[in-house]
Every structure is written in structure tokens, then in C-alpha cells.
């Protein structure tokens, strides 16, 4: 596995070599610093911790977290995540050059929050007819039977909070890698709002 951290900039369209317009998401990916390397013998599992988005003012970082960076002589970063990759040392720079055009990658982000939503939007229930005096519009309807099971099944879709959760989209195609600007152009949409942090991974 290899990966990098990034930030969603927004979406646009580009022409490919065949002259077709392709929808793309522009991601500001890296450069990330390796903040910590965990090893199985000491930490129980092995991984590489990356940091992205440097915090300029030291006083805005909690003391405890600042110590984590001070220990390895790096500036504090806003976004810290572990990615299982090997062959990196603390202090190494991970840049967007890890990826090539045409790669299939997975992107993880925090989806846009939708608030408290009903069952039609949240679970695609059909709802009832809108007219002819139906009086049954967007309600969930029956949520179970009486004698058996005499309770509501687990995972029954009911109204509640929607969005603002970790979402991974797999099999996203890399359209272009702009090394000088640390930009990644990726086909289609990516979870989360513009400016949201992303974890970009590729399985070897």
C-alpha cells in the first residue's frame, strides 16, 4: 500500500487526449512529512504516520500534541493519519509523485453533513402517493410484525442523522498528476466538502 494525505480543492472539467470532456476533482495532495514510524515489536503493529497542512502559529497547537512533533523536530501539522506503508523514515517527505496517470486509487473523506433526515432521503424508502387523499407521504410505514419478532430488527432504517461520516470511494482513476503544484486530478466526485481533508491510498 502507498498513500498520501490531501485536501479537496473542488471540481472542474478537463479535455483528455481523445478530446472528451471529463469531470475531475482537484486535490491538493501533500507534500506530507513522516511524523512517526510504528513497528510491530514495539507498537504492536507497523504503520507510517503522515502529517499534512503545517500549522504556522505554534501557540495554537495543544502542548501535548506539540511535544509529539518536537520529539522528531518537525513543525506541527493539522492532519495526522496512519497509512500502512513501508520503507519510510521519520522526517521523509511523501509527495504526489507516488501516483501515476491511470492508477486506480481509494479516497477516504468525511461526507457532507445532511442533518436529521427522514427515511426517504436516508434509506431511499419509497414513501406514499402524493395525491388522491392518501395522507401517507414520507413516513416509514410499518417497522415490523407483532407476535414475531415482537421487537424491531437491528439495523432497521429509521430517521436520524445523515452524513458527516467517514466514506471511502474505491476505484477512482487518476487523470493527471501535477508534481510542481502538488495537485492530483481524479475522475469524478470525492467524499466531502471543498476544503475537507482526504486520505488517498493505492494498493500495490
Amino acid at each position: 500500500m502507498k498513500g498520501i494525505l490531501g485536501k479537496k480543492t473542488g471540481m472542474t472539467q478537463v479535455f483528455n487526449s481523445a478530446g472528451h470532456l471529463i469531470p475531475v476533482t482537484v486535490i491538493e495532495a501533500g507534500p506530507c512529512k513522516v511524523v512517526q514510524v510504528k513497528i510491530a515489536e514495539k507498537d504492536g503493529y507497523s504503520t507510517t504516520q503522515l502529517g499534512f497542512d503545517v500549522i504556522k502559529k505554534e501557540k495554537s497547537v495543544p502542548k501535548g500534541r506539540l511535544g509529539h512533533f518536537k520529539k522528531v523536530n518537525l513543525p506541527a501539522h493539522r492532519f495526522l493519519r496512519e497509512i500502512k506503508m513501508e520503507g519510510f523514515k521519520v522526517g521523509d517527505t511523501v509527495s504526489v509523485e507516488l501516483f501515476n496517470k491511470g492508477d486506480k486509487i481509494s479516497i477516504t473523506g468525511i461526507s457532507k453533513g445532511k442533518g436529521f433526515q427522514g427515511v426517504m432521503k436516508r434509506f431511499h424508502y419509497r414513501g406514499g402517493p402524493a395525491s388522491h387523499g392518501s395522507m401517507f407521504y414520507r413516513a416509514p410505514g410499518s417497522i415490523g410484525s407483532s407476535s414475531f419478532p415482537s421487537r424491531v430488527w437491528k439495523n432497521k432504517g429509521l430517521p436520524g442523522h445523515m452524513g458527516d461520516e467517514r466514506v471511502t470511494t474505491k476505484g477512482i482513476e487518476v487523470i493527471d498528476v501535477k508534481k510542481e503544484q502538488n495537485l492530483l486530478l481524479v475522475k469524478g466526485a470525492v467524499p466531502g466538502a471543498n476544503g475537507g481533508y482526504l486520505i488517498i491510498r493505492k494498493n500495490d
Partner: protein
Amino acid sequence: MDSIRIIEDSFKKEGPSFRVGDAVRVNVKIIEGDKERLQTFEGIVISRRGSGTRETFTLRKISYGVGVERIFPLYSPMIEGLEVIKQGDVRRAKLYYLRGKKGKAAKVKEKSLTTTA
């Protein structure tokens, strides 16, 4: 957002300016297998829509008595050249009314180049 503008601007190219109502000739690249050739499409611009790299224009022509419309992205790399044949004198932004007209009624008045003082 700036990086998005840079990406979009990299596709922009210089071309002759034209307006709705103008008669325009477009050379379109056509790829057949590994060969490439040019095809011309000539018609009246009946609409321009969108902005930035997303802008498109619609050409309408009558081909063997059948109306043909084709929509081109303005900055498409498949457009090899564009020239304005005639400038039209029209009062609206979209000439969709031409679709219902035939023969002489489907003509667009040509812009008279003499300026009225």
C-alpha cells in the same frame, strides 16, 4: 480555488471572436483508427452557453433539406480551426426560432458594415 482556475485556463486558446447569428466554418478533427483527418462543419451559430472552459456553441445548418445541429465545446482540442464567414445581425441571444422556419424565413440578416453616423 486558484489551482482550479489555472487548470481551466490551460485549456483556453485564442480564436476569432464570433457571436450568435454569425455563419461559421469549423474544422473538426476526426480520428479513424490511427489516422486523423479534418472535416468541415459550416452553419449558423444559434446559441452560446456556459462560461470559462465549459462554454459551448451550437451550429445549425440545412443538409440535403434536413436540419442538422451540432454542439461544440468552445475550447475543444478537436476543433482545429474556426473562421467567421458572415456576421449576422440578430436581436436575440438564442436563435431557436430558426428551427421552425424554412427557406427564406430561416435566413439571418447580414450585418451591414457601414456604421450609421
